[in-house]
Protein backbone atom coordinates (compact mmCIF):
# COMPACT_ATOMS: atom_id res chain seq x y z
CA UNK A 1 0.00 0.00 0.00
CA UNK A 2 1.27 3.45 -0.93
CA UNK A 3 0.90 5.17 2.43
CA UNK A 4 1.51 8.63 1.01
CA UNK A 5 -1.25 8.16 -1.55
CA UNK A 6 -3.61 6.80 1.12
CA UNK A 7 -2.83 9.81 3.30
CA UNK A 8 -3.57 12.20 0.43
CA UNK A 9 -6.89 10.49 -0.17
CA UNK A 10 -7.76 10.59 3.53
CA UNK A 11 -7.10 14.32 3.41
CA UNK A 12 -10.09 14.73 1.11
CA UNK A 13 -12.47 12.50 3.03
CA UNK A 14 -14.48 15.23 4.78
CA UNK A 15 -15.05 17.05 1.50
CA UNK A 16 -16.31 13.81 -0.03
CA UNK A 17 -18.76 13.34 2.84
CA UNK A 18 -19.94 16.94 2.40
CA UNK A 19 -20.61 16.38 -1.30
CA UNK A 20 -22.33 13.05 -0.72
CA UNK A 21 -24.50 14.64 1.98
CA UNK A 22 -25.46 17.50 -0.35
CA UNK A 23 -26.54 14.88 -2.88
CA UNK A 24 -28.66 12.64 -0.69
CA UNK A 25 -29.32 14.65 2.51
CA UNK A 26 -28.62 11.42 4.39
CA UNK A 27 -25.68 11.35 6.79
CA UNK A 28 -25.26 7.58 6.98
CA UNK A 29 -25.45 7.29 3.22
CA UNK A 30 -22.93 10.12 2.84
CA UNK A 31 -20.45 8.38 5.13
CA UNK A 32 -20.95 5.12 3.25
CA UNK A 33 -20.50 6.71 -0.18
CA UNK A 34 -17.36 8.56 0.91
CA UNK A 35 -15.91 5.43 2.42
CA UNK A 36 -16.73 3.43 -0.69
CA UNK A 37 -15.09 6.11 -2.81
CA UNK A 38 -11.94 5.91 -0.71
CA UNK A 39 -11.84 2.13 -1.11
CA UNK A 40 -12.34 2.42 -4.87
CA UNK A 41 -9.64 5.08 -5.14
CA UNK A 42 -7.16 2.91 -3.27
CA UNK A 43 -8.05 -0.10 -5.41
CA UNK A 44 -7.87 1.87 -8.66
CA UNK A 45 -4.86 4.01 -7.77
CA UNK A 46 -2.98 2.79 -10.83
CA UNK A 47 -5.49 4.73 -12.93
CA UNK A 48 -4.73 7.98 -11.20
CA UNK A 49 -2.09 10.21 -12.73
CA UNK A 50 0.03 12.18 -10.30
CA UNK A 51 -0.50 15.41 -12.24
CA UNK A 52 -4.27 15.14 -12.09
CA UNK A 53 -6.45 16.85 -9.52
CA UNK A 54 -6.92 14.18 -6.86
CA UNK A 55 -9.89 15.96 -5.28
CA UNK A 56 -11.72 16.20 -8.61
CA UNK A 57 -11.03 12.51 -9.29
CA UNK A 58 -12.43 11.51 -5.89
CA UNK A 59 -15.45 13.76 -6.35
CA UNK A 60 -16.12 12.06 -9.68
CA UNK A 61 -16.10 8.69 -7.96
CA UNK A 62 -18.60 9.89 -5.35
CA UNK A 63 -20.75 11.39 -8.12
CA UNK A 64 -20.93 8.04 -9.91
CA UNK A 65 -21.73 6.25 -6.67
CA UNK A 66 -24.49 8.77 -5.94
CA UNK A 67 -26.03 8.40 -9.41
CA UNK A 68 -26.14 4.65 -8.86
CA UNK A 69 -27.72 5.16 -5.43
CA UNK A 70 -30.20 7.73 -6.73
CA UNK A 71 -31.45 5.29 -9.29
CA UNK A 72 -31.94 2.70 -6.61
CA UNK A 73 -33.65 5.03 -4.14
CA UNK A 74 -35.61 7.26 -6.44
CA UNK A 75 -35.54 11.02 -6.08
CA UNK A 76 -36.90 12.63 -2.98
CA UNK A 77 -35.66 16.21 -3.03
CA UNK A 78 -35.06 18.36 -6.07
CA UNK A 79 -31.79 17.27 -7.57
CA UNK A 80 -29.60 20.02 -8.91
CA UNK A 81 -27.56 19.44 -12.05
CA UNK A 82 -25.35 22.38 -11.09
CA UNK A 83 -24.48 20.73 -7.79
CA UNK A 84 -22.85 17.88 -9.70
CA UNK A 85 -21.43 19.99 -12.51
CA UNK A 86 -19.81 22.41 -10.05
CA UNK A 87 -18.94 19.83 -7.42
CA UNK A 88 -15.22 19.97 -8.15
CA UNK A 89 -15.31 23.69 -7.51
CA UNK A 90 -17.54 23.49 -4.45
CA UNK A 91 -16.00 20.55 -2.62
CA UNK A 92 -12.46 19.87 -3.72
CA UNK A 93 -10.66 21.91 -1.08
CA UNK A 94 -8.17 19.58 0.58
CA UNK A 95 -9.27 18.95 4.15
CA UNK A 96 -5.80 19.86 5.35
CA UNK A 97 -6.60 23.43 4.46
CA UNK A 98 -9.96 23.40 6.24
CA UNK A 99 -10.48 23.62 9.95
CA UNK A 100 -13.37 21.18 10.06
CA UNK A 101 -12.90 20.45 13.75
CA UNK A 102 -12.71 24.13 14.61
CA UNK A 103 -15.82 24.93 12.59
CA UNK A 104 -17.68 22.07 14.13
CA UNK A 105 -16.72 23.04 17.66
CA UNK A 106 -17.66 26.65 17.01
CA UNK A 107 -20.95 25.63 15.42
CA UNK A 108 -21.87 23.51 18.45
CA UNK A 109 -21.31 26.55 20.64
CA UNK A 110 -23.34 28.80 18.35
CA UNK A 111 -26.21 26.31 18.24
CA UNK A 112 -26.24 26.11 22.01
CA UNK A 113 -26.86 29.85 22.15
CA UNK A 114 -29.87 29.84 19.81
CA UNK A 115 -33.31 30.60 21.23
CA UNK A 116 -35.41 27.40 21.60
CA UNK A 117 -37.68 28.17 18.63
CA UNK A 118 -34.76 28.66 16.27
CA UNK A 119 -33.00 25.59 17.63
CA UNK A 120 -36.17 23.56 17.07
CA UNK A 121 -36.25 24.71 13.44
CA UNK A 122 -32.63 23.69 12.87
CA UNK A 123 -33.11 20.38 14.69
CA UNK A 124 -36.26 19.71 12.68
CA UNK A 125 -34.47 20.30 9.42
CA UNK A 126 -31.22 18.47 10.19
CA UNK A 127 -31.85 15.97 12.99
CA UNK A 128 -35.35 14.98 11.83
CA UNK A 129 -34.64 15.55 8.12
CA UNK A 130 -37.95 17.41 7.81
CA UNK A 131 -38.52 19.37 4.60
CA UNK A 132 -39.65 23.01 4.58
CA UNK A 133 -43.30 22.07 4.11
CA UNK A 134 -43.23 19.83 7.17
CA UNK A 135 -41.45 22.51 9.18
CA UNK A 136 -44.08 25.08 8.15
CA UNK A 137 -46.85 22.81 9.43
CA UNK A 138 -44.95 21.97 12.59
CA UNK A 139 -44.39 25.64 13.43
CA UNK A 140 -47.80 26.80 12.15
CA UNK A 141 -46.11 29.18 9.72
CA UNK A 142 -46.03 29.72 6.00
CA UNK A 143 -43.54 28.10 3.65
CA UNK A 144 -42.07 31.53 2.92
CA UNK A 145 -41.55 32.14 6.63
CA UNK A 146 -39.57 28.90 6.93
CA UNK A 147 -37.45 29.77 3.93
CA UNK A 148 -36.68 33.28 5.19
CA UNK A 149 -36.12 32.13 8.76
CA UNK A 150 -33.80 29.35 7.64
CA UNK A 151 -31.84 31.83 5.56
CA UNK A 152 -31.44 34.19 8.52
CA UNK A 153 -30.46 31.37 10.84
CA UNK A 154 -27.91 29.86 8.47
CA UNK A 155 -26.37 33.25 7.73
CA UNK A 156 -26.27 34.05 11.43
CA UNK A 157 -24.61 30.75 12.21
CA UNK A 158 -21.98 31.33 9.53
CA UNK A 159 -21.20 34.72 11.06
CA UNK A 160 -21.16 33.27 14.58
CA UNK A 161 -18.73 30.51 13.55
CA UNK A 162 -16.45 33.05 11.84
CA UNK A 163 -16.43 35.18 15.00
CA UNK A 164 -15.57 32.13 17.13
CA UNK A 165 -12.75 31.10 14.81
CA UNK A 166 -11.35 34.62 14.73
CA UNK A 167 -11.48 34.74 18.52
CA UNK A 168 -9.70 31.38 18.74
CA UNK A 169 -7.05 32.62 16.32
CA UNK A 170 -6.53 35.71 18.45
CA UNK A 171 -6.29 33.47 21.52
CA UNK A 172 -3.53 31.56 19.77
CA UNK A 173 -5.26 28.27 19.07
Amino acid sequence: MDDAFAARIAGHRRSLVAYAYACGHDLDLAEDLAQEAVVIALRERERYFAEADLGAWLIAIVRNLWFRERTRRGRRRHDSAALHDLASDLFTADDDGMDWDGERRALAGCLASLPPGDRALIDGRFADDADYQTLAQRHARSLVWVKVRMHRLRTGLLDCVRRHLRQEARDGR
Binding site: L27, D85, W100, R104, A112, D123, R154
Partner: protein, 238 residues
Amino acid sequence: MDADLVAWCDGELADDALAAIEQRLRADPALRRAAAALLRQHLLLAEVTSQAPVMASPIRRLPWRSALVTAAAALVTGVLLYDARTPGPTVRLAVVADTWIEAKHPTVSHGRERDLIIAGASSPAGECWALLRFTMPRAGAARLRLRASAGGGARVVLGSGAWDESDARWHHRPGLASTPLATIPARVTAGDVIIDVSLPAGVCTLVLIGTDPQPFTVGSREDGAGAELELLPVVHAR
Protein backbone atom coordinates in the same frame (compact mmCIF):
# COMPACT_ATOMS: atom_id res chain seq x y z
CA MET B 1 -26.26 35.57 0.30
CA ASP B 2 -29.93 35.08 -0.45
CA ALA B 3 -32.66 32.79 0.73
CA ASP B 4 -32.73 30.92 -2.57
CA LEU B 5 -29.12 29.83 -2.10
CA VAL B 6 -29.89 28.38 1.34
CA ALA B 7 -32.99 26.67 -0.02
CA TRP B 8 -30.90 25.29 -2.90
CA CYS B 9 -28.47 23.74 -0.40
CA ASP B 10 -31.44 22.17 1.36
CA GLY B 11 -32.77 20.70 -1.89
CA GLU B 12 -35.89 22.84 -1.53
CA LEU B 13 -35.88 24.75 -4.82
CA ALA B 14 -37.91 23.59 -7.77
CA ASP B 15 -38.43 24.58 -11.37
CA ASP B 16 -37.89 28.26 -12.15
CA ALA B 17 -36.13 29.16 -8.91
CA LEU B 18 -33.82 26.19 -9.26
CA ALA B 19 -32.94 27.08 -12.84
CA ALA B 20 -32.26 30.69 -11.88
CA ILE B 21 -29.95 29.91 -8.98
CA GLU B 22 -28.10 27.29 -11.03
CA GLN B 23 -27.50 29.85 -13.76
CA ARG B 24 -26.16 32.33 -11.21
CA LEU B 25 -23.94 29.69 -9.62
CA ARG B 26 -22.39 28.80 -12.95
CA ALA B 27 -21.67 32.46 -13.70
CA ASP B 28 -20.61 33.84 -10.34
CA PRO B 29 -17.47 32.60 -8.51
CA ALA B 30 -18.35 34.64 -5.41
CA LEU B 31 -21.73 32.93 -5.20
CA ARG B 32 -19.98 29.54 -5.53
CA ARG B 33 -17.72 30.44 -2.62
CA ALA B 34 -20.79 31.35 -0.55
CA ALA B 35 -22.42 28.09 -1.60
CA ALA B 36 -19.31 26.11 -0.63
CA ALA B 37 -19.38 27.63 2.88
CA LEU B 38 -23.08 26.83 3.21
CA LEU B 39 -22.62 23.27 2.00
CA ARG B 40 -19.83 22.73 4.51
CA GLN B 41 -22.09 24.12 7.23
CA HIS B 42 -24.86 21.88 5.87
CA LEU B 43 -22.86 18.76 6.72
CA LEU B 44 -21.71 20.07 10.10
CA LEU B 45 -25.29 20.94 11.09
CA ALA B 46 -26.41 17.45 10.21
CA GLU B 47 -23.59 15.95 12.24
CA VAL B 48 -23.97 18.18 15.28
CA THR B 49 -27.76 17.95 15.48
CA SER B 50 -28.02 14.23 14.75
CA GLN B 51 -25.16 13.33 17.09
CA ALA B 52 -23.20 11.44 14.46
CA PRO B 53 -19.50 10.98 15.15
CA VAL B 54 -16.95 12.26 12.71
CA MET B 55 -14.04 9.96 12.20
CA ALA B 56 -10.60 11.23 11.42
CA SER B 57 -9.73 7.85 9.93
CA PRO B 58 -11.15 6.44 6.71
CA ILE B 59 -12.22 3.44 8.77
CA ARG B 60 -15.47 4.36 10.44
CA ARG B 61 -15.88 4.01 14.19
CA LEU B 62 -12.24 3.15 14.65
CA PRO B 63 -11.64 5.89 17.25
CA TRP B 64 -14.56 4.60 19.27
CA ARG B 65 -13.13 1.11 19.24
CA SER B 66 -9.67 2.43 19.94
CA ALA B 67 -10.99 4.27 22.96
CA LEU B 68 -12.53 1.06 24.27
CA VAL B 69 -9.36 -0.91 23.66
CA THR B 70 -7.32 1.83 25.30
CA ALA B 71 -9.67 1.89 28.25
CA ALA B 72 -9.58 -1.89 28.59
CA ALA B 73 -5.81 -2.02 28.26
CA ALA B 74 -5.36 0.78 30.76
CA LEU B 75 -7.73 -0.90 33.16
CA VAL B 76 -5.89 -4.24 32.92
CA THR B 77 -2.54 -2.52 33.20
CA GLY B 78 -3.74 -0.56 36.17
CA VAL B 79 -4.91 -3.64 37.99
CA LEU B 80 -1.65 -5.44 37.26
CA LEU B 81 0.43 -2.52 38.43
CA TYR B 82 -1.68 -2.13 41.48
CA ASP B 83 -1.34 -5.79 42.36
CA ALA B 84 2.40 -5.56 41.91
CA ARG B 85 2.39 -3.14 44.85
CA THR B 86 5.07 -1.00 43.35
CA PRO B 87 5.03 2.68 44.15
CA GLY B 88 5.08 5.15 41.33
CA PRO B 89 3.24 3.56 38.38
CA THR B 90 1.13 6.02 36.39
CA VAL B 91 -2.06 4.62 34.92
CA ARG B 92 -4.16 6.48 32.40
CA LEU B 93 -7.81 5.58 32.01
CA ALA B 94 -9.79 6.67 28.99
CA VAL B 95 -13.40 7.67 29.52
CA VAL B 96 -15.58 4.64 28.73
CA ALA B 97 -18.82 6.56 28.12
CA ASP B 98 -19.66 10.24 27.77
CA THR B 99 -22.57 12.39 26.73
CA TRP B 100 -24.33 15.62 27.62
CA ILE B 101 -27.88 16.39 28.61
CA GLU B 102 -29.88 19.60 28.55
CA ALA B 103 -32.73 20.88 30.65
CA LYS B 104 -34.36 22.73 27.72
CA HIS B 105 -34.63 19.57 25.65
CA PRO B 106 -35.16 16.99 28.36
CA THR B 107 -36.02 14.14 26.00
CA VAL B 108 -33.09 14.60 23.61
CA SER B 109 -29.98 12.43 23.88
CA HIS B 110 -26.53 13.39 22.60
CA GLY B 111 -24.49 10.26 23.17
CA ARG B 112 -22.67 10.23 19.85
CA GLU B 113 -21.67 13.86 19.62
CA ARG B 114 -18.06 14.95 19.43
CA ASP B 115 -18.45 17.91 21.75
CA LEU B 116 -20.06 17.83 25.16
CA ILE B 117 -21.78 21.10 25.98
CA ILE B 118 -21.79 22.47 29.52
CA ALA B 119 -23.75 25.57 30.50
CA GLY B 120 -25.22 27.14 33.58
CA ALA B 121 -28.93 27.52 34.23
CA SER B 122 -28.74 31.22 33.33
CA SER B 123 -27.29 30.45 29.89
CA PRO B 124 -29.48 31.06 26.81
CA ALA B 125 -28.91 27.36 26.10
CA GLY B 126 -30.35 26.46 29.50
CA GLU B 127 -28.63 24.15 31.95
CA CYS B 128 -26.42 21.56 30.26
CA TRP B 129 -24.46 18.84 32.02
CA ALA B 130 -21.71 16.58 30.70
CA LEU B 131 -21.61 13.00 31.99
CA LEU B 132 -18.32 11.07 32.03
CA ARG B 133 -17.96 7.45 33.10
CA PHE B 134 -14.71 5.85 34.22
CA THR B 135 -13.94 2.44 35.70
CA MET B 136 -11.54 2.91 38.58
CA PRO B 137 -9.38 -0.14 39.36
CA ARG B 138 -8.92 1.19 42.89
CA ALA B 139 -10.04 4.09 45.02
CA GLY B 140 -7.72 7.04 45.19
CA ALA B 141 -6.54 10.32 43.85
CA ALA B 142 -6.65 10.97 40.13
CA ARG B 143 -6.02 13.79 37.73
CA LEU B 144 -8.85 14.53 35.29
CA ARG B 145 -7.78 15.89 31.92
CA LEU B 146 -10.34 17.52 29.60
CA ARG B 147 -9.91 19.20 26.25
CA ALA B 148 -12.08 22.26 26.78
CA SER B 149 -13.09 25.28 24.78
CA ALA B 150 -12.99 28.76 26.22
CA GLY B 151 -16.05 29.63 28.23
CA GLY B 152 -17.69 29.52 31.63
CA GLY B 153 -16.81 27.43 34.64
CA ALA B 154 -18.29 24.24 36.07
CA ARG B 155 -18.56 22.11 39.16
CA VAL B 156 -17.44 18.49 38.99
CA VAL B 157 -19.76 16.30 41.03
CA LEU B 158 -19.89 12.55 41.58
CA GLY B 159 -23.07 11.18 40.01
CA SER B 160 -25.13 8.18 41.06
CA GLY B 161 -27.40 5.83 39.17
CA ALA B 162 -27.06 4.05 35.85
CA TRP B 163 -27.16 5.86 32.52
CA ASP B 164 -26.76 4.69 28.97
CA GLU B 165 -24.56 6.76 26.69
CA SER B 166 -26.83 6.26 23.70
CA ASP B 167 -29.98 7.17 25.59
CA ALA B 168 -29.10 9.51 28.45
CA ARG B 169 -31.59 12.36 28.78
CA TRP B 170 -32.29 15.13 31.24
CA HIS B 171 -35.48 13.41 32.38
CA HIS B 172 -33.40 10.48 33.65
CA ARG B 173 -30.33 12.35 34.79
CA PRO B 174 -28.07 10.89 37.49
CA GLY B 175 -28.38 11.86 41.11
CA LEU B 176 -25.67 14.13 42.49
CA ALA B 177 -23.45 13.93 45.55
CA SER B 178 -23.95 16.87 47.87
CA THR B 179 -20.32 18.02 47.78
CA PRO B 180 -18.47 18.89 44.56
CA LEU B 181 -15.24 17.05 43.85
CA ALA B 182 -13.65 20.06 42.18
CA THR B 183 -14.40 23.18 40.21
CA ILE B 184 -13.36 24.23 36.71
CA PRO B 185 -12.73 27.97 36.49
CA ALA B 186 -13.92 30.08 33.55
CA ARG B 187 -11.30 30.36 30.81
CA VAL B 188 -10.64 32.86 28.05
CA THR B 189 -8.65 30.40 25.93
CA ALA B 190 -9.25 26.84 24.83
CA GLY B 191 -6.95 24.01 25.83
CA ASP B 192 -6.44 21.18 28.29
CA VAL B 193 -8.04 21.56 31.70
CA ILE B 194 -6.48 19.43 34.44
CA ILE B 195 -8.08 19.04 37.85
CA ASP B 196 -7.44 16.75 40.82
CA VAL B 197 -10.24 14.54 42.10
CA SER B 198 -10.55 11.71 44.59
CA LEU B 199 -12.70 8.80 43.44
CA PRO B 200 -14.01 5.49 44.77
CA ALA B 201 -13.20 2.14 43.17
CA GLY B 202 -15.46 0.77 40.45
CA VAL B 203 -17.72 2.55 38.00
CA CYS B 204 -17.71 6.31 38.58
CA THR B 205 -19.84 8.98 36.95
CA LEU B 206 -18.44 12.48 36.89
CA VAL B 207 -21.02 15.18 36.20
CA LEU B 208 -19.81 18.54 34.91
CA ILE B 209 -22.38 21.19 35.83
CA GLY B 210 -22.10 24.61 34.24
CA THR B 211 -21.97 27.54 36.63
CA ASP B 212 -21.89 30.46 34.19
CA PRO B 213 -24.13 31.89 31.46
CA GLN B 214 -21.43 31.28 28.85
CA PRO B 215 -21.46 27.69 27.60
CA PHE B 216 -18.32 25.73 26.85
CA THR B 217 -17.53 22.35 25.35
CA VAL B 218 -15.22 19.47 26.16
CA GLY B 219 -14.10 16.81 23.69
CA SER B 220 -15.86 13.46 23.71
CA ARG B 221 -14.44 10.00 23.11
CA GLU B 222 -16.13 10.03 19.69
CA ASP B 223 -13.85 12.97 18.98
CA GLY B 224 -10.80 10.80 19.74
CA ALA B 225 -9.97 13.35 22.43
CA GLY B 226 -12.22 12.30 25.28
CA ALA B 227 -11.53 12.86 28.95
CA GLU B 228 -8.74 10.94 30.65
CA LEU B 229 -8.03 10.07 34.23
CA GLU B 230 -4.48 9.71 35.39
CA LEU B 231 -4.34 7.65 38.54
CA LEU B 232 -1.83 9.11 40.91
CA PRO B 233 0.73 6.66 42.34
CA VAL B 234 0.03 4.85 45.56
CA VAL B 235 2.95 4.65 47.96
CA HIS B 236 2.62 1.66 50.25
CA ALA B 237 3.89 1.68 53.78
CA ARG B 238 6.86 -0.63 54.35
